[in-house]
Amino acid sequence: MKAVSDTEEKERSESSPATALVWVMNLWAYSLLFVWTLLSLLLFPVAFVLGKLILRWSTERLVRWFIWVYGRVWLFYMSPFVRFERQDMDLLERDKPYLLVVNHFSFFDTFCMALLPLYNIAFAVRSWPFKMVWYRSFMRMARYLDVESGSWGETLASSKETFAHGGSVLFFPEGHRSRDGHLQRFHSGGFQVAIAAGVPVVPLCIDGTNRLLPAGRMLMHPCRIRLKALPAIDTSNFSETDGHIRLRKQVKEQMVKTLTAMRAGES
């Protein structure tokens, strides 16, 4: 009796090119991630000094721009294996403050935010990204928000300051990566910030990063990633008690519909 059937043998030989592609992709992507991160750390001091002297930007604005460029280069060297698409980015005006909310599938969702035409963004994240030594200093200089260990007052004050200088704040309302491709329960924090600060909410739908690198996995896979902006929502219409719950539900409903349509279009 054969240990492996003919069907299994055929399937295995047919999957070899795909498997080889995955390994080539991961060798390429992780090597360049390491090299590019190291190079960025070396280039940053020079870029920072030049930026301060020539552009005269604030530290946080300069560092956010640098992070955006870091992400743009990541998009470039991933492009042999990943097709990136942006939709409806013309809905976003430069230098207008927004509270951006985006669904969350993968570690690389933050890298994909380099697809946005905006660079002046403070990310609101949990505490664990601040533990990554090579990124921590940049996150602090860019005034990213630690919404897990920081207080509500600090989150709101820091967000308002970002908005006052034309920047935007980005929240992942699910709080952690979805493991099944569906939207999880939304936390209210970002929506409360938007209402308290009087800035519009812009939902962003990202699809494909769950195929690039799912939560809990190490191997990346070739895929197509799309980032779509939805129309801004005026938060002045949500000022009643518990208005943040109504806003949160409306945004989630819109994002579920949009993601369903994006995937239906793909299939």
């Binding site: 919404v147 897990e148 207080s151 509500w152 989150t155 709080g175 329960r185 936390h187 924090g189």
Partner: protein, 84 residues
């Protein structure tokens, strides 16, 4: 408000905020293990309770010790008694 009314307001506010099933909200239910809340929800919980009862609690150490629904009930009832 009676104690029962306070507890009902707490439970209904938390159920609305965190999309909880009232059937799961027994007093001994652990917020994290039984009701599925996490550390990010603690901030939202504080804001919900402040809005429902019109008091400030966000800087209080006692919040960090809250683990069950009954802990929240006791905390809020104590707070109301202090304020009155």
């Amino acid at each position: 408000m009676t104690e029962a009314e306070v507890i009902e307001l707490i439970d209904s506010s938390l159920a609305e905020e965190f999309e909880l099933d009232r059937a799961d909200m027994a007093p001994e239910a652990n917020l994290y293990e039984d009701l599925g809340l996490d550390s990010l929800d603690t901030v939202d919980m504080v804001i919900v309770l402040e809005g429902a009862f019109n008091f400030k609690i966000r800087e209080e150490e006692a919040i960090r010790a809250i683990r069950t629904l009954d802990d929240i009930h006791r905390f809020v009832l104590d707070k109301i008694e202090q304020n009155s």
